[in-house]
Subunit: 221 residues, 2 copies
Amino acid sequence: MKNITEKQFLEQYSSEQYKKPSVAVDLVLFTIDGDELKCALIKRSEHPFKNMLSLPGVFVGINESLDDAVRRGIKTKAGLKDIYFEQLYTWGEVDRDPRMRIISVSYLALVPIEKLETTAALYPYEEIQKAELAFDHKKIVEYARERIKNKANYSDIAFKFLPEEFTLPQLQKIYEILLDKPLYKANFRKKIEPYIEDTGKMTSGNAHRPSKLYKRNEAII
Amino acid sequence: MKNITEKQFLEQYSSEQYKKPSVAVDLVLFTIDGDELKCALIKRSEHPFKNMLSLPGVFVGINESLDDAVRRGIKTKAGLKDIYFEQLYTWGEVDRDPRMRIISVSYLALVPIEKLETTAALYPYEEIQKAELAFDHKKIVEYARERIKNKANYSDIAFKFLPEEFTLPQLQKIYEILLDKPLYKANFRKKIEPYIEDTGKMTSGNAHRPSKLYKRNEAII
DNA sequence: ACAATAGTGTCTGTGAGACAGTATCGA
DNA sequence: TCGATACTGTCTCACAGACACTATTGT
């Protein structure tokens, strides 16, 4: 950039001789199924890493924001819309994809299992940890796992795995899975109390004592 | 992507008709100067946003990792090497740069003021907040400010603003600036005690009671 | 009545917060 | 001796952790 204006530089930079990396968004879509945290993965049908599992992802269009690309990915790969997502980390090692230079902006997406009537193939996190994934995708999934473990302590992400109305035993179960440790009922209830609101409704038909249905108290962060 | 193989798609995608975004890294380089948190900014000499302040940044080379681009940026823009940095967030709105589509991977960099004998122009954060910055850079600086405020509570980033050896009044000052609130001496010392190590040395010549010199206890996270 | 799950009362220890005190330097 | 800064002892209160208890359903 010596002796040329920024404008000249940009013209040169935009020209053919300056190769640009491609940019993709990769999705780590988690849900909780019974006692397990599960992640949506796609079996690759082409080389490289043929027949291996990989994260669903899309390339970012030239007139598409990152968040829009994520929404498109969630829609086309999992058939979902209006679910919670947040940016995780951007992975930019030169050789992370053997075909070409691809910078991957990874996103965490969370969805209640009830919304996932669709075809997305889910794999338990515990199995993923033991398996090999395509590209650097295993590292990305593990990064996402750490993130939800941390955020469970100080944010409301646990609620993203549940429908609008839920019981406290359900919510506690989510927390136990995310934090990977058992919690004391009484303590959990005292701690969570400010963040929830009684709906007045109860569960029924569960062969045992019914439980109250709560919803998130949106007024409290 | 209907009816074509992934290979064919990639060939098409790589061809000229598929325009790619550019990727840059933008640096939020903070230091603490006296009682103030300051950020390195550059006055733009070209349109758009001519004469306005902006974050130092570089385009990511096709054969350069993101971290390498950051190191190059820190070297060329601030004349520094081997300083602490971490990725912040990736900004991908379509119109964030009026000239062309640029996706910006922002990085936080922290440096002790003693290392900054150089020319980098520093601006107090409080002033930046009141000013206007080029592009979406003000939002990025504010995001970085929030990050260090949060991380001061549970990580060791405060130490990144100090040289190897430091006094507890110095360290407390850093924390007070980062957290933007006064701290009680006694409580601060009790809390920080496990993370520091006495060097046996003392300050001197300061016209008052000298203070002990400590260093980071690397064994403790 | 019983099994099973839902929900509550209370003790304890830890640690943050607040404040008052003592210690050691230069001038 | 005094001003200024460095450093310490201790009380209180909130809250996480642990555990034992009571409550309500279907069978």
